[in-house]
Amino acid sequence: MRYETVIGLEVHVELATKSKIFCACSTAFGAAPNTQICPVCTGMPGGIPQLNKGAVTLSMKAGMLLHCEIAGLCGFDKKNYFYPDLPSAYQRTQWYAPIAKNGHLEIETASGKKRVRIKQIHMEEDAGKLIHDEAAGVSLVDYNRAGVPLVEIVSEPDLSSPEEVAAYLNRLRTLLRFAEVSDCRMEQGSMRCDVNLSVRPVGAEALGVRTEIKNMNSISAILRAIEYESARHAAALEAGKILLQETRRWDEMRGVSVAMRDKQSAADYRYFPDPDVMPLAVDAAWKQEVRESLPELPEQKKTRYVRELGLSDYDAGLLCDSHALCRCFEAALAVCQNAKECANWLLSDVLAILKRRQMIADELTLDGHSLGELILLVLAGKVGRANARKILEEMFEGALDPAAYAAKMGFLISRDTDKIGEVIRAVLAENSRALADYLGGKEKAFAALFGACMKQLRGNCDPQMLREMLLEEIQKP
């Protein structure tokens, strides 16, 4: 029997606001526990929530990027349950009226394009973080994360393979980073994904029993979990065993999914609208403002780069993968006007430096304007390529003026014929053997002499000029 897998994804994404969704506490990652809290986000008596409009704007952006209908009212419902990481024993979410719905995301796989339907996007507040100290036998709660704004993006079960899931998640991440909705870093928890999966015989209409898998910390872990779970379902169906509809935890170390212990015997969440948060009117003017603030999307940029700037499809594609790369590229381009040079510098040298520093492209903070100036110096023959790379590396440490720095470091190419002549004569004097070899017919000896001169000049010499002058000097009787 052949089986097919049916997958739907629930992706939680932390919105890139400076403050939490219902209070002014900071959302900065990595602070000491319980230092970014207040009465509102810790459920103390007397706190009253105040909706962060910036979070609503970013949610609308996410909705528009995914071609959704945006709701006319933004309200919140209380989802009631008890757990130590939930300070008020309810989570504010949008059960009855999500901010956006009925959208789609197009993905590209080896088998072509596919449109994945988005059921809805809703806003909610994050819970705190529980840390279990097994040795001491205690659990600790950190409420820094409680109240951080999230959107949950729910897809229809339109995905059918790990490859499609990877394409979906990567595409979603690119879009959301491009519009600065979220930095989508799974390793920092700003993007989390739960998988809903079922298996059925190929061609069957009805969906099989669905299980939900949680706790995958990277896209590759998600793919592994999907492979495992599909196989588990298929094996059960093949053996005629019953599959339970349940939530399972992915155990990355052992490579298996494990049934989660009953958190709560499925108590009803008793959703009802939160009377503390007056629903916000999302009028046409606000929607228009948000629509106009959306950036040029990656595919539009890529088309423009190829058609108007003459970049290769491959190079344009690489650049458009990263919002930060594009930004740097366009700033550099504005200065030096040479698209191919800018692309080359970014895609070979800059990416290489990033890789050495174990940074991702989106962490690039390099000033594009300065990069443009550096490229101009190279194109004008004022700085050699090798030294330009050194300047570039230095630019990663902090802002600097490439021309001034080059002058300071003695990188500016000299056209001082007297100085060059002096160096040539000195080198020839010291390398009589090589000179003799060359005059005797050994072409390679010229390279050695040339190299020695360059070295003396510390690379700051126009190669063409040096070659001509060296030849001339050698020719002299």
Binding site: P39, P45, N80, P84, S88, D268
Partner: protein, 365 residues
């Protein structure tokens, strides 16, 4: 004498706030309520805190587990040492206390006094109110605390209603003879001052109690879940699992009336009841608000009792007695109690209502 006392539902940094519950015995808030800040800014001294019935939902403060709070506000006002008592009107207790003890009580329009720093029970209705010996004192304190506050989204800007009360609708709601006598006396005083009184059928307003109990308990059940023994407040000493930590702490920390309210509120939100009971109550709320709008097109105020009797016994229950206080709680309309009776006015008509209260208030020796 610019001194006030605060009921324990109003949080203070320098004095504990137990809200009448073992759950919060000894709890000290890390911040002051906005009303406390405003009172201090205006030169008022906070003379102390008064115990309340647990989470403010009982009749007159008889269910306090941290001290003795039955009629506490009245007892303190009798001593003439403070101008007034600032209370949180959750289920009408301050109004009943005023009615039964010859005081004046103002429950302002919802959203005109900041709720920031008060213990939330029914977020869509909780209103900071004032108890005093006279309408004038109520007015002074109201003016002090009814100023804008940027925290929270349920504040409304005030547009005081002009003029004086000339026509009053009197709702026919049953009471005992003593309260009926108070109502007659009040009508007499108003007539003597040129106010026209018309007897009006209560109509849909009589359903306010069932509607209110549904919404009050639903909101309460969610607002009180934060008292879970995890972060602050009472935590049981006897638990072995997380679930027991919750159940034991809350069983020990919460009183019977509050528990029954939580259960009732959880039930009206559960499964199909959400539509059948909770959403229906929301619709009835709107219908009752409409009924008041219709009355206020013809009348300047609505007269009704604040309680069914002047003295409660063991058999009286707050979820039955709130028949009289529920209409103003539900609609957020301002209500004033004086001379043992209650007047409800349109939004922002507090000054006009207090002017009538001046006529009705019991003269103090």
């Amino acid at each position: 004498m610019r001194r006030v006392m605060l009921e324990d539902m109003i949080l203070t940094k320098d004095m504990p706030s137990a809200a009448g519950s073992r759950m919060l015995a000894g709890y000290v808030s890390p911040f002051d309520a906005t009303v406390v800040e405003k009172l201090r800014e205006s030169g008022f001294e906070i003379a102390g805190k008064l115990p309340v019935g647990e989470f403010g939902i009982d009749l007159v403060g008889e269910t306090c587990y941290v001290g003795d709070s039955a009629y506490a506000a009245a007892n303190v006002l009798k001593t003439d040492t403070v101008m007034g008592v600032i209370a949180l009107d959750v289920n009408g207790a301050p109004r009943r206390v005023a009615a039964q003890k010859g005081l004046v009580c103002l429950k302002p329009t919802y959203g005109t006094v900041s709720r920031y720093g008060t213990v939330a029970v029914a977020s869509s209705a909780d209103t900071v109110g004032v108890l005093a010996r006279s309408a004038a004192d109520c007015g002074t304190l109201f003016a002090t605390i009814a100023t804008p506050d940027a925290r929270g989204t349920t504040m409304q800007a005030r547009k005081p209603v002009e003029g004086r009360v000339q026509r009053v609708a009197s709702l026919a709601l049953a009471t005992d003879a003593a309260v009926a006598a108070k109502m007659d006396a009040a009508k007499g005083k108003m007539c003597a001052n040129g106010i026209e009184i018309c007897e009006v059928e209560a109509g849909v307003i009589a359903t306010a109690r069932a509607c209110w109990n549904t919404l009050l308990c639903a909101e309460l059940s969610a607002n009180l879940s934060r008292f879970d023994g995890i972060k602050y407040g009472h935590r049981s000493a006897s638990f072995a699992t997380l679930e027991q930590l919750y159940t034991e702490s809350r069983s020990e920390g919460l009183g019977l009336l509050v528990k029954s309210a939580i259960l009732y509120g959880s039930d009206v939100l559960y499964g199909k009841n959400y539509e059948k009971k909770y959403q229906k109550a929301l619709r009835v709320r709107r219908v009752i608000a409409e009924a008041f709008r219709t009355l206020f097109a013809k009348y300047d105020a609505v007269l009704l009792p604040a309680s069914s009797k002047l003295q409660y016994t063991e058999t009286d229950h707050p979820f039955a007695e709130n028949l009289y206080t529920a209409p103003a709680s539900l609609t957020g309309l301002p209500a004033v109690v004086a001379g043992g009776v209650q007047l409800i006015g349109p939004a922002f008509s507090e000054e006009r209502l207090l002017a009538v209260a001046t006529l009705l208030e019991e003269v103090r020796r």
